[in-house]
Symmetry: C2
Subunit: 296 residues, 2 copies
């Protein structure tokens, strides 16, 4: 049986784009929520899972991180960074103008990402919300007529839609980070491309909240010249006001620096947990073009 | 004309609960996206707006913060913290058991928050996604039959539904933070309750990324014994790898400590912008009960 990859579906979403760009010789299986997808990896239903980690349209980073911490014990083994480009998609039979489009369908976050464009160019169009950008594309392909979806080029390919207007999102440099999680240590059947860098994601819990606590924690990294590419405080599920930190360090876990940091943090009364050490891959425009050409 | 409050709609969402719990003698107007709601405040269409800031179901914090930074210049003037409790809501005519419910409707984040409950107790029910918990509740009230929605008690009241099963969310201590934004300096017509504390939210931009940069920034707060209740790094819209920080300080902006921090950060080549200094209010169970009793 070939390698099975679970992902946050449906087809034609940015998560699916991450899967298609990253893996080769695999079968994919779509899940409707982040917890369902992660449970499937935990239960061995699939070999790996791909879920959004930051700045996603279809889900929130909080859900993924919280589930990794509280519910499943799965390491992050890779990161896929996908540039977010939104297009206005129509049925192939549509031959009107922008002004002829009566209804725009999409996920509320995608609509919000194209707010300026819609406000300037499609003020009279009605907006209807769907549960994902993929669902919006599917709806256009089934119904046709004077309606449009906002979604990516993969959705256009999967559902046979025409890209009516390219890149209508308000911010040019928007990216989504996806985590690859795997239970068993298996070789990942991935495309032949080089990581842009390596990262280690750790969780640090403070014993109590006091002024300067985080500053103390960061000292352990700072004097070792370890660069942090992300830091985020998150409330503990035990109530308001208790925080833990998710920190991305810009290097692979090693046997000198990280154990040193850990010993120092534990001496301060903190605890540290490694959520994964992994290569990070950026899906280039060329790779995305290849996936989409392949589908359409 | 009475004081106008815009909010991320529709009715029966947690945002609406924040509005009803916080304001008195006001008229509310529902907006479909975060940017639309904030534009309405900027344009003077409404006097104030309420949008999710952290851990929301209907939106993402990133959208709100990004829009505050890039698109509008509106201070945060208050924070409302709402405990998140999800219930299983049915049509008042439904008289079956849990096992009789064929379809569960809700926003994907609400479904994910009740993942364990559904998995254990309603494995055979089909799931159908809506664009908000409020929309799901509306659908149940219109269609009736063997279907249920996941949503809060306000949705039950607004749409005349029965709470079939209380508190089905997986984590007991989940909260959403909402920001109150206002353009003109007007007196806020708020309910008579005391803030639990005061906060100042600032944005710090680093000149470039280097090991220990954040540690240096935090020194400015640490030696002044200023407590930080939240810190989050966010990518700049200018591309991957350039970060800014959103920091919540646990005190009101003053004329000694904050200008001192700012001078120190500027000497390091950083820039600092105050996004708001405001009281923070927690909606107690009692307040929420009052709102909901009033509706039903």
């Amino acid at each position: 049986m070939s390698y099975q990859v679970g992902y946050l579906g449906p087809k034609g979403t940015f998560t699916k784009m991450a899967v298609d760009g990253f893996f080769k010789d695999y079968e994919s299986r779509s899940y409707e929520t982040i917890p369902e997808c992660m449970d499937a990896v935990e239960n061995g239903e699939v070999d790996a899972g791909v879920v959004p980690l930051e700045n996603a349209i279809e889900g929130t980073v909080h859900l993924t991180i919280d589930y990794l911490i509280h519910q499943v014990s799965l390491p992050i083994i890779g990161e896929i960074i996908v540039p977010i480009k939104q297009h206005l998609l129509v049925h192939p039979d549509f031959d009107g103008d922008l002004g002829d489009i009566d209804i725009i369908y999409s996920h509320s976050h995608a609509i919000a990402q194209c707010h300026q464009f819609i406000h300037k160019n499609m003020k009279d169009s009605r907006i209807s919300y769907t549960s994902s950008t993929g669902q919006a594309a599917q709806l256009i392909s089934e119904k046709g007529g004077n309606i449009a979806a906002i979604g990516n080029e993969l959705a256009a390919g999967e559902y046979g839609l025409k890209i009516f207007k390219q890149e209508i999102h308000d911010y040019p440099n928007n990216h989504t980070r996806f985590a690859v999680i795997q239970k068993e240590k298996k070789r990942l059947p991935m495309q032949d491309f080089q990581p842009q860098n390596y990262k280690t994601t750790i969780m640090v819990t403070l014993p109590r909240d006091y002024a300067g606590a985080l500053h103390q924690v960061l000292s352990a990294f700072s004097w070792r010249k370890m660069n942090l590419s992300k830091i985020e405080s998150r409330p503990m599920k035990t109530g308001l006001g208790n925080y833990f930190f998710i920190i991305d360090v810009d290097q692979t876990y090693d046997q000198v620096l990280f154990p040193g940091v850990q010993a120092e943090l534990e001496a301060l009364g903190c605890s540290m947990k490694v959520l994964g050490t992994y290569p990070s891959f950026l899906l280039s425009e060329e790779i995305i073009k290849n996936i989409c050409d392949h589908k359409s």
